[in-house]
């Protein structure tokens, strides 16, 4: 009887080895373990075994059944995984078909550059102030020490709404507005649109500026250099050289023009920098005491600096854009590059 079970084991092992498909294994399962299977029949006939032999034979029978089950399950698993991988192999998709999504739009390059610059100054503790685009002559000129009938006004071609209302020619107009509402210390930037009555290959009548100023009791020109150098290194990289040279703005004294080493030729001279190796990027200076007087500050108490830059110019240098007129044109192919 024991031999009987042993030979069943052997037979199953032999047949399982010979099996060629999942079906063969499943047939074996039915033949041995199914309702009418060989082992099932033996289990059913356990009653006919003499009582004293029953426990030993029963446990042997169970053991044999478990052995066969495990053997066949294992074989079945192998065949199943082979079949699955075969079937998966047959289900191919074309991964080069483009993904399904609504393409994102693009921020205007001016917004991108402004965001970056504003972010740098906010990280230095500056706050953002805004002023009207249609501005009183007072805030745009008079309060900044551009008297009426003064040639300094020729530096900025102005659009007039009336005799004393203009389209602001710079965001410096925010300076005195801010000073009137606050007391130092002040660390302010004023980004926004500005207007000049000028349109040609290198000028557009509306562009963007960022004005910045700082007023406190002990602000020096060396601090202006430090802050602007830090800013320029963040925007154009640490390898950029910065050069300060004297200039004139009615609302700063001393005044400076700030050049950076040409970002195109790295200073060796090209047509962008007109062979000089330098590019004008910012106007700046120490705030003229006359401006403090206009704002109602005591000019003997405070010092401070102001600086201003054209955002289009920064964007052109940063991205290598060679025509300023592309900014207001809004060609989709241009916008999508940023």
């Amino acid at each position: 009887m024991h031999n009987d079970l042993h030979s069943i084991k052997e037979a199953v092992r032999e047949e399982a080895d010979k099996a060629l498909s999942l079906q063969d294994i499943q047939d074996l399962k039915v033949r041995y373990l199914g309702k009418k299977g060989l082992l099932t029949a033996k289990l059913k006939s356990l009653g006919s075994i003499p009582r004293e032999q029953r426990p030993e034979y029963g446990s042997l029978l169970n053991e044999t059944k478990k052995y066969i089950e495990a053997l066949l399950d294992k074989q079945e698993g192998i065949f199943k995984s082979v079949e699955l991988s075969k079937s998966l192999q047959s289900q191919q998709i074309d991964v080069t078909v483009p993904g399904c999504f609504t393409p994102w739009g693009h921020l205007h390059p001016i917004t991108k550059v402004l965001d970056e610059i504003v972010g740098i100054f906010i990280s230095l503790g500056f706050t953002v102030e805004e002023g009207p685009e249609v501005e009183l002559d007072f805030y745009n000129f008079e309060a900044l020490n551009f008297p009426k009938d003064h040639p300094a006004r020729d530096m900025q071609d102005t659009f007039f709404i009336s005799d004393d209302v203009v389209l602001r020619t710079h965001t410096s107009s925010v300076q005195v507005r801010t000073m009137e509402k606050n007391t130092p210390p002040l660390r302010v930037i004023a980004p926004g649109k500005v207007y000049r009555c000028d349109a040609d290959v290198t000028h557009i009548p509306m562009f963007h500026q960022l004005e910045g100023f700082m007023v406190d009791k002990h602000i020096r020109m060396s601090d202006l250099k430090g802050v602007l150098q830090l800013f320029i290194h963040r925007v154009f990289g640490r390898e950029t050289s910065v050069r300060f040279r004297p200039s004139f703005f009615p609302f700063t004294e001393p005044s400076a023009e700030i050049d950076i080493s040409c970002v195109i030729c790295k200073g060796s001279g090209c047509n962008v920098c007109k062979g000089t190796g330098w590019l004008e990027i910012l106007g700046a200076g120490m705030i003229n005491p006359r401006v403090y007087e206009m704002a109602g500050y005591n000019p003997d108490l405070y010092t401070g600096f102001a600086f201003g830059m054209g955002i289009e110019r920064v964007a052109m240098l940063k991205y290598g854009i060679d025509d300023i007129r592309l900014f207001p044109e809004n060609d989709k192919r241009f916008l999508e590059q940023f």
Partner: protein
């Protein structure tokens, strides 16, 4: 200002080559824009800032070079050998507009061509040589920066000069043959009878020096800068003379130039000069400025040595008194720009070299940065529109009034109240924008013309409307435009562009945590929108904007074919007020939901939101959500009907629902829709 290297060397021994000099000048505040090197000279093109009229001359630039290089300045000396007779009669009626007028008569001149050296010098600095008399006056304009004029004495009635107002004169013909219209605030030079020059701007044709001229009267004067500027502006006539007068010439150089001119004319064109008439009723006393030496370092951040300070100022022609902590400085008369101590400090910083000033970082008290809420909101809006597929455009703030005709706006529309620009560059840009839409439509039209497809643009900018205050109202608006176009994308769905744009806006509102948004049909919303495909957008029951398909006639006017939708948000700052300041967590549901679908056939007039409202109006606290998942129109339904399929989700906050109770409520809902909206179940 063009300056010749050789001419400069008349005044200062320059010990550096032209290229290096150009760099030195640039770094001292005189930006050399170009150096043109010729065979025997070099011409510098120098940008002179408006505060430095003294450097609109060879002598002035040379003086700067001498101070920068620390080499001596060799000023011109003028000596008139022979004078005969008294100078001309000069009467000044308006001394405040003409504080100084000096004059000489030269008798017996012979007009003719200038000697080569003279015409060459003039031409190297950009002035055309004409005849010896005029050339000499121009020579001194360039050399000393003093504008001068020569009258033909024999054409001057009464052989006298009267400086006075316009009076009864209304037109005047200037040297350039133009008849100029005069206005009352101008200053003229008269003879005994008639005007002969517009003071400081240009002489007259009637007294012009010609080849037949024998006797001349030379003018060298100081005119009030503002007055000359006003006159030049209102005549729209700028000359080398007016350019210098309006910036301020050196009142002390007036007679130096006159004497040198007389001397040169006698040398070159012969004749003999009279004595000088120096009418000088005005005052221009020197101004003194006190400088506390410790202020220098507190402004520029460098301690300068007293020796350097004094040497630099002396080299620039300043006089210094005092020792130690404060000094008193008297600027020369040609430096009308130096008014207070910071001006002196700038001079010192300039000569010290800006590049030698160290870079430091300011020490400041820490203070809380404000929240920048509006800027944050605009940034969020922009980012959210970008993520919905829209690209940002920035257009000019100008527009043409006619563009509103193209939009079909009625004549009484408030957007037709313009802020006019007095001096627009083009007629098309003559008013400030009152709406962002025309520019966006032009953007679409331009891009379509260039063959671009699927155009989705938005802009956030100010519009301008008149107010009762001096300045207009500036309102920040957002407008978006979507041209769906034939898309090549394989994933493209067939729905109308209206819903793409609506979806983008819903996205924006969701990003801002704005709830209670409704899109309400409004046929009268905008004359430029399709009356059947447009709506108002409400936020918390306030109309905040509108959107709709562009009216076909407007689309035609902009040359746009195809599916185009426009949206506008009227006031971004108002949206900010509706944005909740706080986000509150709602606990997650603990019990499962049961979902039931309802496919209804309703009349075309029945809107989705009407069905939803009807469902939600049932008194029950277990209807969690109602979502539309399908719309169908077509056979076998009648032509005026459509099918709407909703998925209704039921859930209780306190227990697990049974199928029975949900089925009961669901059929109650269906019968209610049948009863109140005439809906039928779709079979």
């Amino acid at each position: 200002m063009k300056a010749s290297y050789n001419w400069l060397k008349d005044f200062v021994d320059i010990n550096v080559p032209p290229r290096e000099l150009a760099h030195i000048l640039t770094m001292a505040g005189f930006e050399v824009e170009a150096v043109e090197e010729t065979e025997d000279d070099a011409i510098f093109d120098i940008g002179i800032t408006p505060n430095r009229p003294d450097c609109l001359s060879i002598r002035g630039i040379a003086r700067e070079i001498s101070a920068i290089l620390g080499v001596p300045f060799k000023d011109i000396s003028v000596a008139i050998d022979k004078e005969e007779g008294e100078g001309p009669v000069v009467i000044i009626n308006n001394p405040e507009l003409c504080p100084r007028y000096s004059s000489r008569i030269v008798y017996g001149v012979k007009p003719g061509p200038s000697p080569d050296w003279l015409s060459k010098r003039l031409e190297s600095c950009g002035i055309r040589s004409t005849s010896n008399i005029v050339d000499v006056t121009n020579y001194l304009l360039l050399e000393i920066g003093q504008p001068m004029h020569a009258f033909d004495l024999d054409k001057l009635a009464g052989k006298k000069i009267v400086v006075g107002e316009v009076g009864k004169a209304d037109t005047f013909t200037t040297l350039d043959d133009e008849e100029r219209r005069l206005s009352s605030n101008m200053l003229l030079i008269w003879d005994a009878e008639k005007p002969v020059a517009i003071a400081g701007v240009m002489g007259g044709q009637n007294t012009e020096v010609s080849s037949g001229t024998v006797n001349i009267l030379l003018e060298s004067a100081y005119f009030n800068p503002s007055s000359v500027r006003r006159t030049s502006k209102s005549l729209n006539l700028s000359s080398e003379s007016s350019y210098r007068f309006e910036r301020g010439v050196d009142p002390e150089a007036v007679t130096i130039a006159l004497d040198r001119a007389a001397q040169m004319i006698v040398e070159i064109a012969g004749g003999i000069t009279t004595k000088i008439t120096d009418a000088c009723p005005g005052h221009y006393g020197p101004r003194t400025i006190t400088v506390a030496l410790n202020k220098i370092s507190s402004v520029i951040g460098v301690d300068l040595e007293e020796f350097f300070i004094k040497k630099s100022l002396l080299n620039l022609g300043f006089k210094i008194e005092g020792e130690g902590e404060t000094i008193t400085v008297t600027p020369p008369t040609f430096r009308n720009d130096v008014e207070r101590d910071v001006d002196i400090i700038e001079e010192l910083a300039r000569l010290y070299g800006y590049d030698k000033i160290p870079a430091t970082l300011p020490v400041m008290q820490m203070s809380p940065a404000p929240e920048h809420k509006t800027q944050q909101l605009i940034k969020t809006l922009k980012d959210s529109m970008v993520k919905s597929g829209f690209s940002e455009v920035i257009n000019f703030s100008f527009m043409s009034p006619e563009s509103l005709d193209k939009l079909n706006l009625p004549l009484n529309d408030r957007r037709r109240n313009f802020i006019y620009i007095k001096n627009p560059l083009r007629k098309e840009d003559s008013v400030m924008r009152t709406t962002l839409v025309p520019a966006l439509l032009s953007n679409v039209s331009m891009n379509l013309n260039r063959g671009e497809k699927r155009l989705a643009f938005f802009e956030i900018s100010n519009v301008f409307l008149p107010s009762t205050r001096k300045l207009p109202d500036e309102t920040t608006q957002m407008a978006a435009v979507y041209h769906k176009g034939p898309t090549p994308s394989i994933w493209h769905s067939k729905h109308a562009g209206f819903y793409d744009l609506k979806g983008a806006l819903e996205n924006v509102f969701a990003t801002l945590n704005l709830s209670d948004i409704s899109f309400v049909k409004d046929a009268a919303i905008g004359p430029y929108l399709h009356p059947g495909k447009s709506c108002a957008i409400f936020i918390h029951n306030e109309k905040a904007g509108h959107m709709g398909v562009l009216h076909p006639l407007v689309a035609e006017a902009y040359d746009i074919n195809g599916d185009i939708t426009v949206a506008e948000i009227y006031d971004i700052t108002k949206i900010l007020k509706a944005v909740p300041t706080k986000t509150t967590y709602v606990s997650l549901p603990r019990y499962p939901y049961i979902e039931r679908d309802a496919a209804l056939v309703v009349h075309d007039d029945v809107t989705v939101s009407a069905v939803k409202e009807e469902i939600l109006s049932i008194e029950s606290d277990i209807i969690e959500s109602v979502d539309l998942f399908d719309i169908y129109k077509g056979k076998p339904m009648p032509i005026d009907k459509k099918s709407l399929a909703f998925s209704i989700r039921y859930r209780s906050a306190s227990r697990t629902l049974t199928d029975n109770e949900v089925d009961k409520l669901h059929s109650e809902i269906i019968s209610r829709l049948q009863r109140n909206l005439g809906a039928e179940l779709r079979t």
